[in-house]
Every structure is written in C-alpha cells, then in structure tokens.
Symmetry: C2
Subunit: 327 residues, 2 copies
DNA sequence: AGAAAAACCGTAAACGTTTTCGAGCGCCAG
DNA sequence: CTGGCGCTCGAAAACGTTTACGGTTTTTCT
C-alpha cells in the first residue's frame, strides 16, 4: 500500500539500514549514496512511518496538550502557539478537553501518556498530589500553575493585578471591589496575591466579594454587590465577568466609567471591542504556549536536573472603562 | 520500562496471543482464562501500545482536524465537539492550524495522513482539485465545504441568510446592504446565495459591497460605504465585521437600531454580550463537528459506496440590532 | 608497500502488537 | 472404535523502522 523503506532501498540499490541512516544521521553515509537515497525517497514520496520508528526509538514525535475548555479563547490562544511551535520542531500535537473536570483531566493525560513524548497541562484543577501522580506517567510541563519539581510556563498575573491597583490608585480610587473567581483556582489565588500586595502598600479599602462563577452571569450577579458596597472601582477576576458587570451596570443606569470604573483580566478579543473598551491586563498566552513546548523539548533531551519555571510578563492595557472617581 | 503484553502473559500463565485475544476479541477465549488475563492486566496497569498495534492493523486510532485559525471561536467550537465525539469513540485527535494558508493546509493533511485514520478538513481555502488530491492521501471529510464525491458536514448558511432577509423585509426594510467576506470563500458564496434567493422573491434593493477582510477592521471600513449608499439595514458577512460596523456607526453618531439595523452571522459569544445585542444567525458548530467525526467513523468501516453530505440547520437569533426602519 | 585505522554499508535482531496456522483435546455421529 | 468437528490456545510470522555488530573497502601513516 504505502511506500516503505524497503521500496526506497530497492530503488537506490542499497540496504534498508543505509536508507535509514541517510535520513536520520546523514553523517554516517557517503555523500554520494546519500544523495542517491534522498533522490529515491523523494521520487517515491516516501515518508517514514512514525509508529514503526517510535516503536524502536521509544520516542513518538508527538506532544499532548490538555486544556480545561476549548471554548475559552484564553486556552485556544495557548493552543495555537503550542501547535505552531510544535509543528516547527516537527512534533504533532494531540489535544484534549477536560471540560473543567479534574478527574477526566487526570484520565486524559494517562491516556495520552503512551502516545506522546510529553504533555503540557494547562491550568489544571487537580490537587498538587494528583499532579505529581500524573507526572509519573509522562513528561509534564505545567502552564499557569506552579508546583515545585515540575517545569512550568507561567504568566505574572500577580504583577498584572498589582499594576491594575496601582493604576486605579493613581486615578484616585480609594475603595475598590474585587470580584473573586473560583476560590481554589490557582489563577484566582495568584491574582488575589498581587492584589493584596498592592493594596497593602497603598492604603485603600478592599471589598473582597465572591467567589463567583467566572462567567458572564457571575458578573451580572457580582455587579449589584459591588455597587451596594459603595465602591468607586470594580476589579473583576476576568474579562468575561467584567462584561457581565458592564451589562448589569448599564441596565441599572450606572454609567461606566463615569460612576464607576471597571477592569477585566486576560484581554480577550472582545475586551477591545466592547464599548466602552475594557481596561484589562493582557496575558502573554502565545509566549507562554511557546515556552511550554520549549521547556518540554529541552526536558526531553537533558539530564532533567534543573526544573525551570519561566514566567512571562503581563501588561496592563488601559482603555475606556477606568477614569478618576467622580469626586 | 512500561508494562508490555508479555508481562501480562507471564502473570496470567498464558501466551501473548491469548492476552491479545482476551482483550480485543473476547469471544475467542474461554471465559475462565479471559478473566484471569483481565485480572493480570489491570493488576499490572497494562495499556496496549497503540503504535505497535497500529503497525500491524493499519489503523492508528487517531483522527486529525485541520482548521484555518485556532483563534477563531467558530473553529474552536467545531474542534471542541470533534474532540468530544472522538474521545467517546476512543479516538485521539491531532490538531493543526493552517493559518488560513491553502498550501500549508495541504501540507498538513499530508503530514497527518500517515498517523491518522482520517482527517476532517474545516472550511478549506484549497481549490477543488487540490482537495481531491489530498483526499487521496487519507480518508477525508469536509466541514463547511461541499464537494461532489467527498463526505461533508455542512451547515445551512444559505438558509440562515435567507431568514435574515425575510426578517428584515418583514420589518419593512427595502434597501439593504450586504458586506461581502472574501469572494473566493465557500462560506461567502453560500451566504450570498441565500441572500440572492431571498432578495429575488421579495423585491428589495440590494447593495452589494466589498469584499472586505472578515475582521473588525473590515467592518469599520464597510460601515461608511453602507451608510453612503443610503441603506436602512446592513447585513454583515459575519459577527466580527458586524461588531466593527457597530463601532464605526457609534463613532459617527448613527444609532443602532434606530437609524439603521445591523445583522451578523455565526453567533459567537460576544454577539450576545455587546450592546445592543447583535441579531445574528447561530451556526450549529457543535453538531457539525459531531457529525463530521460520525461520518469519518462510518466511512472507515463501510464500503465507501455512498457519500453522505449532511447539512445541519442554522437558526436566526433576533436580538437588539434590528427594528423597523425609521419611516 | 604494507599495516593499522577509519569510513562505509549490509545482516539481523529488536520494538510490542495482531493474526495465521496448526496442535491438542473433548465430543458426537456413524 | 474411528473420524471429524469445534473449541481453546500456543508458536511464529508479520508490520516498518532503528541500531548493534561485523565485514569490506578506503584512507592514512611509516
């Protein structure tokens, strides 16, 4: 059916071993025969069977990525970068969606383990111990989750949140609401950490609300609580919640940013497109995705002695939803 | 290293052949020994090596999907469904992003061909002939592109567009602008087809503008042309363009839907979230994704005699950007 | 020129499965 | 009692590669 290494060998008048060498370690064969082999290979349109190769080398040439939700632009941004970088390095990528469920998350990386050289696990909801457990099944690099002993591509969301508070304080806000995302999520903890550190050095009142579902509906619900708390600025856990907040405020006749300032987090595309455009912090998803596969690839051919955790910088994007408070 | 079929065989005191049979075709082995094998397998945590299996069976247990842009929620919606359905059927899925480039598109399916049992090709920009060419490399099912002889999962976007015009005409609009997407794209042709058929039976003036880039910026540009043409309704090729139109109109002080009605297409999440919420047509992306892999799976074990092309219904979602014209 | 070293390449084993073939066995019919 | 059949299972070949090992040729050195 398909063209095999034997066909190439026959056509080039060499053994299969030579063909293999000519393709994978060219320095081991005389230039003349090598070009003969290469010619035969391209003429026949030969592509090595990766399964067979993997069987003997133990490497598959594949990597996996498991994300909590493929409908979330945040993760697809990561995915896009991972895919691109992997392709560059001649790796193919398996994708799986855990639907935010920790147990399928674990199941998925176990299922992938046999077919990949490593997997990047995005923002897992797993317990620390469970992560260590799945890390035993394959090479793992985390994205948006820090854990001692396992390499990770991180984003400085704490720093981003710090910048948000600095920005609001500079505008003159002194009473600020934070709308928490899921309490147990590592992201929320990080964002909150940056928030608290900034608040501590600025002498402002923090109204800590939630947790809320990190969705549009969560924002709708949270908005009322924030205005009831008489704050002049509302810091949402993420953009989608912020959009909910904006919608609810508009419905109630509260103008943004006139009556109250609002910030999001993530800089999803629609943050720039809604009106007024949302002040938010941009996450370097593409960069993180790229470094995640870089880490994985490095990890694969190295003595695994050091465990790099690379954090990429976030960036505050000031748009139309933040101004000085009314008075 | 990993636990192999031989380990299981040893522990169950049978041959490797029996283990294989017990796992893949249970009816061929005595129930008693089968349970002994199963016990041994689970005790050891045995998972068959799919590469080795694929080597002999010729099936990989993988499917591939190539999309034009992973940042586009439309395609990730498809991807999510494809992934879910594939997982259900115990298939793993490779994903690749062509970056809207037809030649990488072809290259990608060729590269995948060896590692998958089939690929679903989403909204390809390839010429018909090139599609037939890549279809030779592996089992192919198209999504959002119809081509004689190759199975496809389609969505009735023509019907959706027809519904849009019916809706606008019912509201009283008689002069309508259509903002074309890329001329050569199958999607634009389909939408335009539905548009023209509706226009023909309604006696309205159609102002055919473009093509424009199917992006926010394209909408900004198109908006001015549409108002210059003195239309009372603007039908955009897709939601993102519609958002651009809304932004540009707002900047110019033209109110929506008061002065002019606007419609989008695709029903991406932000269509519901912007304000006023966008009237648009919902594409059954999840359903299409599912049927795409169903088609692929059916195709794989059947006599390939019939070539099903299944079209899923679209649905007009009336929201806040459409009302009767001012006078 | 002769020997040692290096360069090149072929033979065959190995990777972990599935599957063909046939052996052993019990059973039933003739 | 014999022949045949059905059931269960083991031995071994096969899938398409890579790679250890050895053999042959070429180069290098004296």
């Amino acid at each position: 059916m398909a063209v095999t290494i034997r066909d190439v060998a026959r056509r080039a008048h060499v053994s299969v071993a030579t063909v293999s060498r000519a393709l994978t370690s060219p320095e081991l064969v005389r230039p003349e025969t090598r070009s003969r082999v290469l010619a035969a290979a391209t003429e026949l349109g030969y592509q090595p069977n990766r399964a067979a190769r993997g069987l003997i080398t133990g490497k598959t040439g594949n990597i996996g990525i498991v994300v909590p939700d493929l409908d979330n632009p945040f993760f697809t941004g990561v995915l896009k970068a991972v895919q691109a970088r992997a392709m560059q390095a001649d790796y193919a990528v398996f994708v799986a969606d855990s639907d935010e469920d920790p147990v399928t998350e674990a199941k998925l990386v176990h299922a992938m383990a046999k077919q990949v050289d490593g997997v990047v696990l995005c923002a897992p909801g797993l317990e620390d111990s469970q992560i260590y457990e799945v890390a035993g099944a394959t090479s793992l690099v985390l994205l948006n989750r820090r854990l001692p002993g396992v390499p990770a591509a991180l984003m400085d969301s704490a720093g981003g949140m710090h910048a948000v508070i600095d920005h609001l304080v500079a505008l003159g806000h002194r009473r600020i609401a934070y709308l928490n995302g899921p309490r147990t999520s590592w992201s929320n903890q990080e964002r909150r950490r940056g928030l608290l550190s900034a608040v501590a050095q600025h002498d402002v009142d923090l109204v800590d609300l939630g947790p809320f579902a990190p969705r549009y509906e969560g924002g709708l619900q949270a908005a009322d609580l924030a205005v009831a708390a008489d704050t002049t600025a509302i810091v949402a856990y993420n953009d989608i919640m912020a959009l909910g907040v904006l919608a609810r405020l508009r419905d109630r006749g509260i103008t943004v940013p006139g009556d109250v300032s609002v910030t999001g987090f993530d800089d999803l595309t629609y943050a720039a497109l809604c009106s007024p455009a949302l002040t938010t912090v941009a996450m370097p998803v593409a960069q993180a995705g790229r470094t995640a596969v870089n880490l994985l690839l490095d990890w694969l051919d190295s003595d695994n002695t050091e465990v790099p955790q690379i954090v990429a910088e976030t960036q505050l994007i000031v748009r139309g939803t933040t101004t000085p408070p009314r008075r």
